[in-house]
Each structure stands twice: as structure tokens, then as C-alpha cells.
């Protein structure tokens, strides 16, 4: 069996807010190209974990490595440059911009011209703008957003906004894609589309996906590895089948239902 390189490696990540610990020493490895799901009851620290990886929170202890680089002290825009993109649990689009422009912001790092070249808009600035707009159109049609491409995203339906978020993250051409509840609040049809898009992105571009999701059916269907968090601790890690039969997991989930 060939050795698959490790994409993301978290070691003893510890994070607390004013004395309340959100993450109490979480460790896991994500392999290149896999779909890695983080699940757990509400308040288990899933979003905090994702925020630590994308640089919105700084863990007090532990280390987070992406391939060869230690991420701990890097601001989020530097992590994006390394090839990490994400979507948000509560939609975080640029509301007044159109769908196209949102996706073009995702191309930010791939465009090279600065302020003055942009203002003069001649030669290279012009040609690169055209080239990347073409690229944005590819993503738009890949995710089926053509019909709404020039609408301000603030006006779109919830499910579409979620899809634009995925499109914007993919526009970065990331190696590691972090998705925070990409299917929350969607209709069944929209969920199917989203699952298909994630799988296609994973297959076509080889993107490693780390995903928080509540829908167990989907998680068990598409993930290669599942990590279960509860009260800021990792209580299980393994293939979907392993995790499903884990007594700790059963207890955590039954315990939640008792509330």
C-alpha cells in the first residue's frame, strides 16, 4: 500500500476563551486527497477547530501543520496563500457584490497587478483580468450559478448563497478546503447538489476536504475518515464504520438526545 502524504496535522490543540476551554488538546492527521469529517454535538468545538486551522483563532497550546509549514502564528491571509480555503457556518459572503465579483475575490491571490497597474488598466492588468474572469466563469458553470451570475449575493436564496461560498472557496484553487456545515438549512435537493459538487471538486481537483456536518447519512456516505469531538476532546477517530460502532460516540450522541 503506497504511503499517502499527510496534508494537515493537528497536535494537542488547546484553545480557551476567558477560562472556558473550547478545545482541550485535540490531535488528528488529515491525508492528502481525503474527505475528512468532523462531527460532534453542539458546542463540541468543531467550529473552533476549523477557525484555528484557518487562522481566525490562535490556539494557546499545540501545533497545527499544513504539509511542511507550521501554521500557528500565520495570519489567515498567509494561510490562504499556502492553499487553504474555507466556507463559513453563517454565510460570510460579500453581500453587496455580485456572484461573479465574489468569485473573483477568490482569485485574488492568482492575480498579480497592484493598485497603480489596476487603476491604469492597460496591458498586463487588462489581460490578466480577462483571463481570470474566464476562469471565474468556469467555476460558475461548474457549480451551476450561471443564471444568477450578475446578481448581488445578498438577494439570493439561502441554498444558492451556500453554493456561492463553495464557488468562492474553489476559486482559490485550494489544496485544503475547510467547509463549516456546507449543507445546513438546505432542502433535500440542494443537499444532493452540494454533495455532488464536493465530491466532484474532490475528484476533479484533488482537493483535500475537512468538513463539519450534522447530517450523519451524508457524513457516513462520503467521508474517508471521521473525527468525533465532544466537549473539546477527540472521542473517536476512524472510518465511518469504526466510528459508528464506537461506544463513546454512541454515548455522546444518546446523551445529547436526552437533553
Amino acid at each position: 500500500m503506497p504511503q499517502v502524504p499527510i496534508s494537515l496535522s493537528c497536535r494537542d490543540v488547546f484553545l480557551s476563551f476567558g477560562g472556558v476551554s473550547a478545545l482541550a488538546g485535540v490531535s488528528f492527521d488529515v491525508l492528502c486527497g481525503e474527505i475528512f469529517a468532523i462531527i460532534g454535538p453542539n458546542g463540541a468545538g468543531k467550529s473552533s477547530m476549523l477557525n484555528c486551522i484557518s487562522g481566525l483563532y490562535r490556539p494557546q497550546k499545540g501545533s497545527i501543520r499544513f504539509k511542511e509549514t507550521t501554521l500557528n502564528d500565520l495570519p489567515s491571509h498567509r494561510r490562504a496563500r499556502l492553499g487553504i480555503a474555507r466556507s463559513f457556518q453563517n454565510i460570510a459572503l460579500f453581500r453587496e457584490m455580485t456572484v461573479v465579483d465574489n468569485i473573483l475575490v477568490g482569485r485574488h491571490l492568482h492575480l498579480g497587478c497592484g493598485l497603480i497597474a489596476n487603476g491604469i488598466f492597460f496591458g498586463r492588468a487588462r489581460s490578466e483580468e480577462l483571463r481570470h474572469r474566464a476562469k471565474a466563469e468556469e467555476i460558475i458553470s461548474f457549480l451551476g450559478l450561471t443564471a444568477v451570475r450578475s446578481q448581488p449575493v445578498g438577494n439570493l436564496a439561502y441554498g444558492l448563497q451556500k453554493r456561492v461560498e463553495l464557488a468562492r472557496a474553489l476559486a482559490l484553487e485550494p489544496e485544503l478546503l475547510l467547509l463549516d456545515e456546507p449543507m445546513a438549512g438546505m432542502t433535500a435537493g440542494e443537499r444532493d447538489d452540494m454533495v455532488r459538487s464536493i465530491l466532484e471538486a474532490n475528484a476533479a481537483y484533488g482537493v483535500t476536504v475537512v468538513m463539519i456536518e450534522h447530517d450523519m447519512g451524508i457524513v457516513m456516505d462520503i467521508s474517508d475518515t471521521v473525527c468525533v469531538l465532544d466537549f473539546g476532546r477527540r472521542i473517536a477517530l476512524g472510518t465511518p464504520a469504526e466510528v459508528q460502532s464506537d461506544p463513546h460516540v454512541i454515548k455522546a450522541y444518546l446523551g445529547e438526545e436526552d437533553d
Binding site: S54, G55, L56, P75, S76, H77, A80, R81, A85, R86, F88, A92, L93, F94, R95, E96, M97, V100, D101, L104, V105, G106, R107, H108, L109, L111, C113, G114, L115, N118, G119, I120, F121, A125, E129, L130, R133, A134, A136, E137, S141, L143, G144, L145, T146, A147, V148, R149, S150, A157, G159, L160, R168, L172, T187, G189, E190, D193
Partner: protein, 361 residues
């Protein structure tokens, strides 16, 4: 829920033409026609022999440059500045100092003044740009009073309360001292300023500014260095405002600390709110509207002074009251400004023509 994945083939034409249209500055026929009309009308203005009309036109032009500058910072990047009058003062006195004490041609002093203002602006901005937006409002307010104090006290540079008198700019041996010659200079700058800003906001840098305004965290996650771009927005905005200040110096010929009162900063804010935050066209409309409004008010009060003599003495507070009410009404009822009316008008025009085609099929 309708699915749109399969719709990609049915929309208007091949995608390349679609996104080339996106990139065009003037997407619709009414926009192109009205722009031509505006340019033609503006070009006719110097034919007028009335120095009053030319003077008002020149002040409009300067206000446009200042308003675009403030809009880059406040409307597009979402950072409010109360220091516009101070930055205009910095530009004006920098130009004045270089022209009088440095003996430079005032024409070259204009871009230099812009650069100096941009540098000082960034120095002032650095401490507050790392904090929440409202701290920048505070810092720029403080900057206003500190700059005002320095302008009064630093007599060797600014001439103190007496002010400076600025020599006319010289272009190819021609003295630009009449209102008409200044008109060409000022509107040349207006044209450059407008084109630069319009280009900026259809490309990478401008999108980064807007992204920061709409969602700072998400902008960072997309790879935008938020602090660096905020600083760039502040620098560019200050450059525009500094140039507007230098043009004010050329136009007023004598500048003193009183040329740039705090109320000027509020007027600039009023221009972009009423014209349209985050819009170059809006900046222009707002600047025109609020520069012409007091003139109209003055004409009206002179006309009415026979029956209501009390009006004449109250032009200043009346002006302030109307500006204030407009600021409030626009923010509450039409937060996208005058330009949004124009947009919904042209959008209807575009939609009508788009709807007609499929009907014929």
C-alpha cells in the same frame, strides 16, 4: 426549488461576451449617451464669459475629486473619515509651501502635494486601522483639530493665520491664472481621477477594498492582507483629497486655516452619502448636487429677500440644515444615494430590452 445547473446554456450568448460586458465601464446605451452629453456640456462651459459660472464649475470639479477620494475610503472600503478637511488643508499648504518657499512651478506641486498627503494620511491611519472602524472616525477627527492647530502655529511653513498666496501654475509657458485656464487644469484632473477610480473598482485592488467593507474576516480568509489594503485605501484616498486641496489652493489663490473648517469634512461626507456610497458616479453626482445647492439657495434667498429680508442673514444655517436633513433622509430611506435611482432606471431599460428578445423566438 428550481435547479439552475442545467441553465448554463440558455443564458445570453457565449460566456466570453458576457464577461467582457461585465468588464465594460458603460454597460448600457443610456449610460453611454448620458456620458457623452455630460462631456459635451462640460466642454461647452468655458465658452461662457461669466466668471461666476466658471468659478462654480471649478469648485464643482474640486469637490468631485475630494468626494471620489473620500468615497474610496468610506464608501468602498467602509472606513469612515472625519478628517477630509484636514487632509485637504495638508494638500493645499504642502502645495503652497513648495510653490512659495520652494520656488517650484505650482503645477508640479499638485501631484507632490497629493503624495505628501498620502504619506501623512497613512501615518495618521496606522494606529487606528488595526482597530475597529469607529476608531478611525475618532483618529481622523483628532487629526482635524491637530492639523488645524499646526497650520495656525507653524507660520514658517503655512504663513499662520495670514495664510499663503499661491502663484499661478505654469503650463508650457502659459500662466494658468484665469478661471477659464484653471477650468482646463481642474477638469483634466477630474477626468484622470475618475478614470483611475473606475478602473480600480473593476479589478483586483478595488474588489479587495469592497470585500474588506462587506466582510473583513472573509476577505482575510480569501488571502487579502486586510491591514495592507486598508492602508492602501487610506493612502490613495488621501492622495485624491490632497490633490483636491492643492487645486483649491490654485483656485482660491490665497489660503488660510479658515479655508478648511471642520464643516468642510461634513460636506464631503454629505456628498458621498447623498450621491451614493461606493460609487464613482455617485461621488460625482453628490459633489455636483451639494456644490450647486448653496448657489441655488443663495439665488432663491436673494430673490425672496424683498418679502423675507430675514432670510439673507440665515443662508449658512439654512444650508447646514438642508445638508443635515438630506444626510439623515438618505441614510434612512435611500442608503445607496441618488445613483441608485439612476441604476434602477437603467436596469429597467436593460431588462425591457432583454425580455423582448426571447418573446420574438
Amino acid at each position: 426549488m428550481s435547479r439552475s445547473t442545467d441553465n448554463s446554456t440558455s443564458s445570453a450568448g457565449p460566456t466570453t461576451t458576457v464577461f467582457k460586458n461585465d468588464l465594460a465601464l458603460l454597460g448600457s446605451a443610456p449610460a453611454r449617451i448620458s456620458l457623452l452629453l455630460v462631456i459635451a456640456l462640460t466642454a461647452c462651459l468655458p465658452l461662457s464669459n461669466s466668471s461666476y459660472i466658471l468659478d462654480v464649475a471649478n469648485r464643482c470639479g474640486i469637490a468631485i475629486v475630494a468626494a471620489i477620494g473620500l468615497n474610496i475610503l468610506t464608501g468602498y472600503t467602509g472606513l469612515i473619515s472625519l478628517g477630509n478637511a484636514a487632509f485637504m488643508a495638508i494638500g493645499a499648504f504642502a502645495a503652497g509651501f513648495l510653490a512659495t518657499k520652494g520656488g517650484l512651478n505650482t503645477l508640479y506641486c499638485i501631484p507632490l502635494a497629493g503624495l505628501i498627503t498620502a504619506l501623512l494620511g497613512m501615518v495618521i491611519g496606522i494606529p487606528s486601522l488595526r482597530l475597529k472602524g469607529l476608531y478611525l472616525a475618532m483618529a481622523t477627527l483628532a487629526a482635524h483639530f491637530i492639523v488645524e492647530f499646526l497650520v495656525v502655529k507653524w507660520e514658517s511653513v503655512t504663513g499662520g493665520v495670514a495664510g499663503l498666496s499661491i502663484p499661478a501654475p505654469v503650463l508650457a509657458g502659459l500662466q494658468l491664472d484665469s478661471d477659464r485656464s484653471l477650468f482646463y487644469l481642474i477638469y483634466g484632473v477630474v477626468l484622470l481621477a475618475t478614470i483611475f477610480a473606475a478602473n480600480l473598482f473593476r479589478t483586483r485592488t478595488g474588489r479587495a477594498f469592497i470585500a474588506i467593507r462587506d466582510h473583513e474576516t472573509a476577505a482575510g480568509v480569501m488571502g487579502i492582507n486586510v491591514f495592507q489594503y486598508k492602508l492602501a485605501a487610506f493612502g490613495l484616498s488621501s492622495f485624491y483629497v490632497g490633490v483636491a486641496g492643492a487645486l483649491t489652493a490654485c483656485q482660491a489663490k490665497i489660503i488660510s486655516p479658515e479655508t478648511f473648517p471642520f464643516s468642510l469634512a461634513i460636506d464631503s461626507l454629505a456628498m458621498i452619502i447623498i450621491g451614493g456610497l461606493g460609487s464613482v458616479t455617485g461621488s460625482i453626482l453628490g459633489a455636483l448636487f451639494l456644490t450647486l445647492l448653496p448657489e441655488a439657495l443663495r439665488l432663491a434667498t436673494t430673490a425672496l429677500s424683498g418679502s423675507y429680508p430675514a432670510l439673507v442673514g440665515n443662508i449658512a444655517p439654512l444650508k447646514e440644515m438642508i445638508f443635515s436633513i438630506l444626510i439623515i433622509v438618505f441614510l434612512v430611506y435611500s442608503p445607496h444615494g441618488i445613483v441608485s435611482w439612476w441604476r434602477s432606471l437603467t436596469a429597467r431599460f436593460r431588462r425591457d430590452s432583454a425580455v423582448q428578445k426571447p418573446k420574438r423566438r
